[in-house]
Amino acid sequence: MTVLKDVVAELIGMFVAEKRLTIAVLGVVTVAGCLVNFTDLDPLVGGAVVLLGCLILLIESVWCSAGADAS
């Protein structure tokens, strides 16, 4: 039973390293999906949103974690 519990915890931990980052990434992908599917914009705009959004989120997450940890 403990093994099963550990496996489930491991699987969740693999994709939810930090809750806020996970939610934000899902939000960025949702926005990009809406831009691609429900607007007349070039689909590459959606691609740029995914790429730049995720890179900005990464930098912000590392920076904020450092600040939170130090304070």
Binding site: D6, L21, G47, L51, C54, S61, V62, W63
Partner: protein
Amino acid sequence: MTWSIAAPAITAAFLASVVEVVEAFTLVLAVATLRGWRPAAWGTTAGLALLAAIVVLLGPLLDHVPIHSLQLAIGILLLLFGMGWLRKASLRAAGIIPLHDEDAVFAAAAAQLDQQTRRQQRNLHWVAGITALKAVLLEGLEVVFIVIAVGAGRGLLMPASLGALAACALVLIIGAVVHRPLSRVPENTLKFGVGVMLSAFGVFWTGEGLGIAWPGQDLALLLFAALSLPAGLVGTALARRSRMELAL
């Protein structure tokens, strides 16, 4: 097979597997050192058998998922997984969280097994075997995910699997020779590199899944990796500066 996407897939599977297999090896070695090779061997074998069963049972299901849905699901999971690795590696590089230390992991596992030995005198081999099984299963799950994630989208499962198997063979051979935790493996550098590659794959597959035709097709992957690397480094630099400012 285009090498612009096959080479990063194989390299990512190989490097990520090195990281995971080194971690599993440390725990199996702790079991073997304290309780002998028999429980370590059966725990490892059982862990590998469970992983194989998971792959055999779930692998064929992937063929029934529409390609765009599969690419989108894998892309999002890769983004979450890769960015998680990159974030952690950046925080470790900046000194915010301690570096992964195989010697410390070995000592902690040994202490835990020792404690369990004192608590219950019976079934010691069982407890030790389960420890080895858990180590192989939990670290192996990540390897299986990475192989599927970088390989499934373009029929690269076999090359990615070979990359992972090569990593297993390499770690086991070195481990058998040195017979101690592989603490000199630059774990954080590997994790940083793999995080960059998996994040790039994540952006690529998410875009493909959404129906975006990337300019340059597979070569776009290299551009995403080239942009993810400085993003990780900028994050590290900002975190380090933030830490130093707050320390003053």
